[in-house]
Symmetry: C2
Subunit: 195 residues, 2 copies
Amino acid sequence: MLSGPSGVGKGSLLTALLGQVPGVARSISATTRAARPGETDGVDYHFLPRERFLADAADGRFYEYAEYNHNYYGTPYAQVDAMLDKGVDVILEIEVQGAKIVRGLMPDAILIFVQPPSLESLEDRLRKRGTDSEARIAERIQLAAAELSCLPLYDYSIVNDDFDQALDQLRCIVIAERCRIAETADTAMQSSNDR
Amino acid sequence: MLSGPSGVGKGSLLTALLGQVPGVARSISATTRAARPGETDGVDYHFLPRERFLADAADGRFYEYAEYNHNYYGTPYAQVDAMLDKGVDVILEIEVQGAKIVRGLMPDAILIFVQPPSLESLEDRLRKRGTDSEARIAERIQLAAAELSCLPLYDYSIVNDDFDQALDQLRCIVIAERCRIAETADTAMQSSNDR
């Protein structure tokens, strides 16, 4: 799971990671918000009508869902589980509250937090992006501070100061976690001998 | 700490790693065995006379020491601690029993095990190296099997099948561990703000 304040560059890091590391895929969230120009259904999000989304939620089809800015966002079980079953490492771009819920459901999940070098630099970035009003930027910065307070719950922290370095760190976390010896696991050699 | 059977390629991986990642250094062991041609005191080992080694051991100057093939080998405290104090990541090439001891003394230490793709491939490698008798090779393979049984104590496993891939994995483990959030640590942002 990849969390971090809005504007910190999670999406760009994730897109670049997918181009570098085989066997990694992005979980596509469901949302009730309208598609923005350039967004494709099933690629950027699963765009669902409000009733369908709430019916899916009532059927327990989401790992977690939340209302955010008057729209619902959720992480569909079926899609994530299908990829995990194929041995794919699934990456969820997920806000802090959702990450807490998924961690409870999947204790082996790895939590990575992408930090800005400072809140000031995040403010600069949001201002340069030019998509938010000053009031909205102030709200985002407050939210970022709240999210940063959850950092001790995470396994890894990446400070996105230099993009290439942050991308290398993200890639290294994925590669290293694949080398990790699970508490209950047999040795790779033993299991390869079993085949 | 980097462990693994004799002949698995730990030394070559470590040398290559030191050339790639800044802020990493190798701990130089002390030994009572004679320097081999091409080995330099203070670079490959600290070559110590037997009495000096045992006096140092009696003074508690080693994290761990062991007798191996009629010679003593030890990991000096002073050297490792001086590097750690400077913020350097110190890598110990250490056999399994020594790794267990150091882990007890430094619970935050990371244990990496380098595996051969199979015991058969290790045997091939030792035979091609041509430095051991058949009886010695058989003994080394038995020892390798014993060492592999300790793999569940380790944090990470690297299978040294393809050297470049194994090196990348080793590098990734170091980079990823630097991103790891310590249980008690403040956020990087908070600590950078404190500076």
